[in-house]
């Protein structure tokens, strides 16, 4: 990192970061690709609106869910989206506690990704309740029915874990953004921008006394978010592990789910960041070395996920339990074996390409592998939910599943919501944590001499 600062004055160096990052939201027009992407995202969002309208006016019967496979796609999508979010918190909180300074180039956008992914995730269980306008029944509140939530149910734990996660992620994201919003405010030329960013920046003036408390608060939130992020997907895995269904009732689920979540989340960060750094000229900030590190983390978590698959199958055999053995045999060679093999190919085999440097440097190859990982991680949840629910204990209760048009429309629509929000975020909020990034430069340290 020191090579860039050799010939430059520190003030120039700091200013250059401000210019590069602020340019993304200050240039009069975003690149054409942004408009194209935004158009597609809006169309998909429209599809979501139509799907949700159709669902609400007709009922959950528009989905393919049936008596045996009650969870079907909605819960698959929920687990998928919650998992996506995890990389954001890992980057912003855990890597912060580990003093990994490279995280500053991507943490803001990864946090934004977390929040939007959690929004998409929250959509599905709420819609899956059938009457979403009664969703507030899940929040403990005095009511005329004299009913309280059942706090020992994993589904109730989910409500607490996901709402806490969404809240803390949003607070963490906004707290980190305030000094940068102040930068945007101070550079704003138009009255509207001055007022809007002025209000959002809360009157931040870079005071050292305020920085002191701010840094403490940020550190505390990071320390709180770290166990939180590990707990969220663990709790999500309890939805499965606590129930007594073959293929679900295993103790490996919490770590396996968390590893899978981080795996899919990093794949999503790469899918978003690799095009974004090229599109908005952020190559000097999100460096190739950062992309390289993220590819390596994806590889590492991918190997963990692969190991978990192996461990699951081994334990199924080793348990000597006929039903458990059948559940896994059915996954691999049963009617939905294609889903299992897509999962194995995308999650276990393809990430191994990241062993090769070429695959960690070529943007097309990176995004290609990561797209496959995203597909594979969706199929992981699909396989877990579908195969186990379609083959319960009593053969008389076995059932097969056929998705409907609306299943697919809602899933595609949720991607529309995600990308719409993310593209708006890129255009209107500082997508790189400028203040944090400046603080990691050598010039930011007292010992550094003017260039």
């Amino acid at each position: 990192m020191s090579s860039a600062s050799e010939a430059k004055h520190p003030a120039q160096e700091f200013n250059q970061i401000t210019e590069t990052v602020a340019d993304v939201i200050e240039r009069p027009k975003p690149p054409k690709a942004w408009y194209v992407a935004f158009g597609i995202a809006l169309a998909m969002l429209g599809l979501l609106a139509v799907s949700v309208y159709h669902l609400l006016t007709t009922g959950v019967g528009v989905w393919g869910n049936n008596n045996a496979i009650a969870w079907a796609w909605p819960i698959t999508n929920f687990v998928f989206w919650v998992g996506i979010g995890h990389a954001g918190t890992l980057i912003s909180a855990i890597l912060f506690l580990m003093r990994q300074s490279w995280r500053t180039s991507i943490n803001r956008s990864a946090e934004a990704m977390t929040i939007f992914a959690v929004m998409c995730a929250g959509l599905f269980p709420i819609l899956h309740t059938g009457r979403p306008w009664m969703a507030y029944w899940m929040i403990p509140h005095p009511n005329e029915m004299l009913m309280w939530p059942q706090f020992r149910s994993p589904l109730m734990w989910d409500v607490f874990a996901v709402t806490t996660y969404a809240t803390v992620s949003m607070l963490f994201w906004y707290l980190g953004m305030v000094p940068d919003l102040a930068t945007v405010r101070d550079r704003a030329k138009s009255k509207v921008r001055q007022i809007v960013y002025g209000i959002l920046a809360l009157g931040w003036n870079g005071s050292a006394r305020q920085w002191h408390r701010y840094e403490r608060g940020y550190l505390l939130l990071a320390a709180l978010a770290t166990p939180l992020v590990l707990s969220v997907h663990s709790v999500v895995s309890f939805d499965f592990a606590v129930s007594k269904i073959p293929g679900w009732h295993t103790t490996i689920f919490p770590p396996y789910f968390v590893a899978g979540a981080i795996f899919s989340g990093f794949a999503m960060v790469l899918t978003l960041m690799v095009p974004a750094r090229w599109l908005f000229g952020l190559k000097d900030i999100i460096k190739e070395s950062h992309i390289d590190v993220m590819c390596k983390i994806t590889l590492a978590t991918g190997l963990m996920v692969g190991f978990s698959y192996g461990a699951e199958i081994f334990i199924a055999w080793y348990s000597g339990n006929l039903f458990e053995q059948y559940a896994f045999l059915n996954r691999a060679v049963g009617p939905m074996a294609w889903g299992f093999w897509i999962m194995v190919t995308c999650n276990v085999l393809l990430p191994n390409l990241f062993w090769f440097k070429k695959f960690r440097t070529n943007p097309f190859l990176i995004v290609g592998v990561c797209l496959f990982v995203n597909v594979g991680m969706w199929f992981e949840r699909f396989v877990i939910i579908m195969t186990s629910l379609s083959r319960p204990w009593i053969p008389a209760a076995w059932a097969d599943f056929t998705p409907t048009f609306w299943d697919a429309a809602t899933l595609i629509g949720s991607f529309g919501l995600f990308f719409t929000l993310f593209l708006l975020f890129i255009r209107f909020a500082p997508m790189v944590a400028m203040a944090e990034y400046k603080a990691t430069l050598p010039a930011a340290h007292a010992g550094h001499q003017k260039g």
């Binding site: 003030a11 700091f14 200013n15 306008w133 009913m147 706090f151 809240t167 101070d186 550079r187 709180l224």
Partner: protein, 420 residues
């Protein structure tokens, strides 16, 4: 705003002629800022601050900033979240409405760990966030320093020290010299607006905030009112759920277009042909109750064939149900009676002889009724013997009674010779 104050120490600040707020000095690097901060601190100032685009490490000890209480607040909030959620879960699931699930105890820590953990994090996280702003006295959108164009760099690449005029030992010349000697590239005075009313939030904005906040409560007031009062209007169905359904009420006329259901529109359907309504099944008083009008029947019902097979059936049934008490000869000395005498049962009354005048005089219908419902200590036999068999017994009884009072004429002529 003026732009000519690039030179050293201007006499008037960019804000014009208002009262002096303080002086602002700019430094080029974080290192210089720290050195200058040490100088200002050593000079004994208390109301002053540094401003930088990022947290400068080493500045806190240089300025003498004491550690914030924020971690303590967050810790307390975490404890409150933990304790509060334990109370919440215990009160709701174990006390107010003990909820037994799978025979587990209504309250136990392990099953509630996720809830307690998330509540702890939630309350601590919210406190960390709002604590930062509360301790920093933000949001405060208005700050005299924002009047300086130079200060815009404080969020980009500029490093500043501001000393407030409100500081007890503030003297403008001394402060400016101190800052300049410490290596400032520029020093400027910051003035407040000449109009004191503009030091505060403008009244229209304040009024707007207050009015919006009050108006925001109005819907809640309406909801609260609706919950405790009665109205003559039907309730508003935002989500109709199953409140309204296509259905037919009793005695309504309902024609659904093109529906094969109830084409005649008659909602209350007539019974299927041949249906016997409840309570209308056994209307034949003679056969079922042994009545002819209001009197006991003196004839046998038409359903009964008076022939040898009926007589034999009556004989068989009499021996099964009646003979144990009344005896096969009907005199009242059946095996049960004999047994009662043998054990000298004090409660036992001898069964009536069916040859007694009181019995022989009774019409057929009354005998049938007695078999059906019993009399005195005799129970009814309607549950065991069906109607036809009861009538058959009555027929046999008549024959039995006649047998004890038979006249020679009753004996068929070819068998009369055997008498005597």
């Amino acid at each position: 705003m003026t732009t000519e104050n690039q030179s050293d120490i201007p006499e008037t600040g960019p804000g014009g002629e208002g009262p002096l707020h303080g002086v602002l000095a700019e430094y080029e690097t974080p290192g210089e800022l720290i050195e200058a901060a040490k100088a200002v601190r050593d000079a004994g100032y208390t109301k002053w601050d540094c401003h930088s685009p990022f947290p400068v490490h080493g500045l806190d000890p240089a300025m003498g900033i004491r550690p914030t209480v924020l971690p303590l607040l967050v810790f307390a909030a975490g404890i409150a979240g933990l304790g509060g959620s334990i109370l919440l879960v215990w009160w709701m699931n174990a006390h107010n409405w003990p909820w037994i699930v799978a025979g587990m105890p209504a309250f136990s820590l392990p099953a509630n760990i996720p809830i307690l953990f998330e509540s702890t994090i939630l309350l601590a996280g919210i406190t960390a966030f709002f604590g930062v702003w509360a301790l920093n006295r933000l949001p405060k959108l208005w700050n005299p320093l924002f009047k300086s164009d130079r200060f815009l760099k404080a969020t980009d690449n500029g490093f500043f020290i501001s000393i407030e005029a409100a500081d007890p030992q503030f003297e403008r010349d001394k402060a400016e010299t101190l800052l300049k000697d410490a290596g400032a590239t520029a020093v400027e005075a910051i003035h407040l607006d000449p109009d004191p009313t503009r030091w505060q939030i403008p009244r229209p904005i304040l009024a707007f905030i207050v009015i919006t906040a009050i108006l925001g409560l109005v819907p809640f007031a309406f909801i609260a009112k609706a919950r405790v009062t009665h109205g003559d209007q039907p309730r508003i169905h935002v989500f109709p759920d199953m409140d309204f359904q296509v259905k037919a009420d009793t005695q309504q006329r309902l024609v659904i277009d093109d529906s094969p259901v109830f084409r005649d529109g008659q909602v209350t359907r007539p019974p299927v042909e041949g249906t016997v309504p409840r309570g209308q099944l056994r209307q034949d008083d003679h056969f079922y109750r042994g009545l002819e009008g209001d009197e006991w029947a003196t004839t046998f019902p038409a359903q009964l064939d008076i022939d040898t097979s009926t007589m034999d059936r009556g004989h068989e049934q009499y021996n099964v149900y009646c003979a144990p008490c009344h005896g096969e000869d009907g005199l009242g000395g059946g095996p049960i009676h004999e047994r009662a005498l043998e054990i000298q049962s004090p409660e036992w009354l001898m069964p009536t002889s069916i040859h007694d005048q009181n019995v022989t005089r009774q019409p057929h219908g009354q005998l049938y009724n007695t078999i059906s419902h019993g009399i005195r200590t005799m129970p009814g036999y309607r549950a065991q013997i069906d109607e036809e068999d009861r009538w058959a017994i009555v027929l046999y009884l008549r024959a039995l009674q006649r047998s004890q009072k038979a006249l020679p004429d009753d004996v068929p002529p070819e068998e009369r010779a055997q008498i005597r």
